[in-house]
Assembly symmetry: C2
Homo-oligomer: 445 residues x 2
């Protein structure tokens, strides 16, 4: 993807808060989301700029947007915009950059019209950005797969297919929630090693998973494939994803058909979809496979994807316990990793998904799988960080965690920064753990 | 569920074809579907009666339907009707039975109004009956699980969780198609035992799976469970499901996270949703677990479900090859099984699914998993019937099958018949196998 004026790091916005060096939402980002301006207002599309939102429904109403994207910008979810494809996305981004740029939109009647479409981000209620038809979760970090595999099979951590197949499975769409939604600890069956039979009750080993997730653009008709060289253009943008996991349920249930109730009680995503075009300055080579790893098969290979299919994106996990919040202590960082370390590129994941003719639809969500890097402090879940609970974490306030406790809030953050580019971020993906519903409440009615 | 006048086997319809003893759609059935009366007409709801459809949009328009269901009957999918719940379903069924009964709707002005809402089934284009938000597939036949397990692990066919957990996994919603949609043979990665590396190309071991699938009714909010005693009322009705499977892709990809591309290229369902209320005369005890099998845990146990949570429903697979069609030969039956043999009831599947707080939504689809019985001729897929291809089937015309060939049409049928009840059926679930798209066509563009 070529860089253009929308990426120019020197450009400022006339929305002052977008020029704050620490903001996730400078003029160069322009992420899309769905919001209500107030608790009972109709959902509408918006673009984050500094601490404001440009209301796209309002902007479309006053004729500010390009014809090709106007109808899509009047919807209450991003699906129609996602369906339009890369040329329309680029046209809309160029226009938004022009409307919000200090240089391109000087004080005057046009700026006043744009200004009338701004609304404070802090007062908006953020919603899921799209209707997610299907949610797929991959397993694309070889460090994560190796760590988990080592716990299960010390002698052969990686299964024979791992370096050939971008392993993935279907997740649950209904329980995907937006950042800020509290998540209830699930109940479920577990089989303690010291008991003769399984028991039903609250999950004891609740975990988060740090992931990046891509929203599918136009998709593909049933029975057709998407060449890997075209797959990148079929991705609208990315969000942070916390793939909450009930490890003790998972251990007992997952053979032979994969994770099910261990995952489908909730998955949390961040509300702002950062487009791949905004991330163009942060593209990097695909993961450098060790010399003795096989090359991917031809249908997963593309020279341009190898050269710049990676993403130099820092991803972090932060934790705030109830005790920390009560004491006024700031969240503590548990992990810092980078999406560069993923074994498969986003384009390879999408091309693999469609390689059998499976139709992808606008708004489908592809999770990357837990993002773990080679270093211990870049492990993307507690299972790995505490090595199945055998190496508990001690927090700065003295609290100890093997897995998540009720009242813990998990905060995912992501950002990109490189010399010569304007820093931008993905915002936050937050979720507070609520206690399980007791079986009495659930069942005795 | 109590039997009522709508189940009375002696009652006839004034729609003559509904009184044919062989029809799947007598007065006692009244299944719901979505159809277009012609190729370009708007989709609408209908009820099958003999060889006709009662157009529910038209019936609602002329004020024939109960108030509680009128708005839902004007939609273009069954989701709203599914959301209404059992009392509304019963009220609508009672009214339809009254309107279409020869005894309750004698010749006269009312019958004339109903008759004006009939349209020939043969001219209708059937569509998917609902927008399926999430599709889950279970593995509830212990005979199927034992057969497949025996092929993989002769010494321990069933995994330790099988008799405790109704094993299931998430499937793909986007590629669920209605009966009559041709299905393209998928491409994919396989790892032939005699080659050092996997290859990409057309699936060689394409299979069908005979399943029953339940449509969820009102569902449950996130974080709440559905007690097994209430789960049956949360199921609107059932359809036939062909869970097409690419066995060679599955073998290579499915560890450790379960089937993915081996399944998600297509799943076919029959168009007419037969309600659980229509099936009330065919309820039977849940599967009688052998004495040394464990009892299900309390959250999966309900006395009424044990007594009548089963379904005495005959399910069949028929095959018509291209050569058979060319010769004018009728399809040949490959399998006849019965849903009574399933290890878990539909209510147990739903209660398990929601036991962790996973929210189910109206129109979600729960596949039973392959329905295989104890007898060889009740095995519900070719993998089992040909024992992984080692015991090929010879068809009456001399053709041999290990797995499906291009041009094969697979036809699933289901029906219920018992002394004292009117026979009724599920209609058909058909799918024709088209050749794979060659990789040249897919990738060289």
């Amino acid at each position: 993807m070529m860089l253009n004026q929308t990426h120019d790091p020197a450009r400022l916005s006339w929305v002052d808060t977008a020029n704050d060096t620490a903001t996730d939402f400078p003029l160069q980002n322009l992420p899309y989301g769905v919001f209500r301006p107030g608790p009972v207002a109709t959902p509408r599309l918006g673009v984050a700029i500094g601490t404001s939102i440009l209301d796209l429904a309002a902007a479309a109403h006053v004729g500010l947007l390009p014809e090709i994207a106007t109808a899509a910008c009047r919807q209450s979810s991003l699906n129609e915009l996602m369906a339009l494809g890369a040329p329309a996305w680029s046209a809309l981004r160029a226009r938004l950059s022009e409307l919000l740029g200090a240089d391109t939109c000087p004080a005057g009647p046009l700026r006043a019209r744009v200004e009338s479409c701004l609304t404070p981000l802090a007062r908006a209620v953020m919603l899921l950005p799209a209707q997610i038809g299907d949610y797929t979760d991959f397993y694309a970090s070889i460090f994560h797969a190796t760590n988990v595999g080592t716990m299960l099979r010390p002698d052969s951590p990686l299964l024979p297919n791992y370096k050939w197949v971008p392993v993935g499975y279907h997740g649950r769409s209904s329980s995907i929630v937006v950042s800020g939604t509290a998540v209830r600890r699930p109940n479920g069956q577990t089989k303690p090693a010291d008991l003769p039979a399984p028991v039903f009750g609250p999950c004891k080993n609740l975990d988060y998973e740090l992931e990046l997730a891509a929203f599918v653009g136009p998709g593909n008709p049933p029975g057709t494939a998407v060449p890997v060289a075209h797959a990148g253009q079929n991705i609208f943008g990315v969000v942070l994803l916390n793939d909450w996991s009930a490890r003790d349920l998972q251990t007992w249930e997952y053979q032979p058909l994969g994770p099910f109730l261990a995952k489908n009680f909730a998955s949390t995503i961040s509300p702002w979809v950062v487009t791949l075009e905004a991330l163009a300055p942060f593209r990097c080579p695909a993961f450098a496979r060790p010399a003795d790893d096989p090359a991917p098969l031809p249908h997963l290979t593309d020279a341009a994807d190898q050269k710049c299919g990676g993403l130099d994106l820092t991803l972090e996990v932060w934790l705030a316990t109830a005790a920390m919040r009560a004491a006024g202590t700031a969240p503590v960082r548990l992990t810092r990793g980078n999406f560069q370390t993923m074994y498969w590129t986003l384009a390879q994941l999408l091309a693999h998904h469609a390689s059998n003719g499976c139709n992808l639809r606008p708004g489908d969500l592809l999770g990357s799988g837990t993002v773990s890097g080679p270093a211990k402090d870049s492990r993307g879940c507690l299972l790995e960080l505490t090595w199945r609970g055998t190496e508990p974490l001690t927090l700065p306030n003295g609290e100890v965690r093997k897995f998540l406790a009720d009242g813990d809030e998990v905060i995912l953050r992501g950002y990109a920064e490189r010399p010569g580019a304007r820093r931008l971020g993905l915002g936050e993906c937050r979720g507070l753990v609520l206690p399980a519903v007791t079986t009495e409440v659930s069942y005795n009615k």
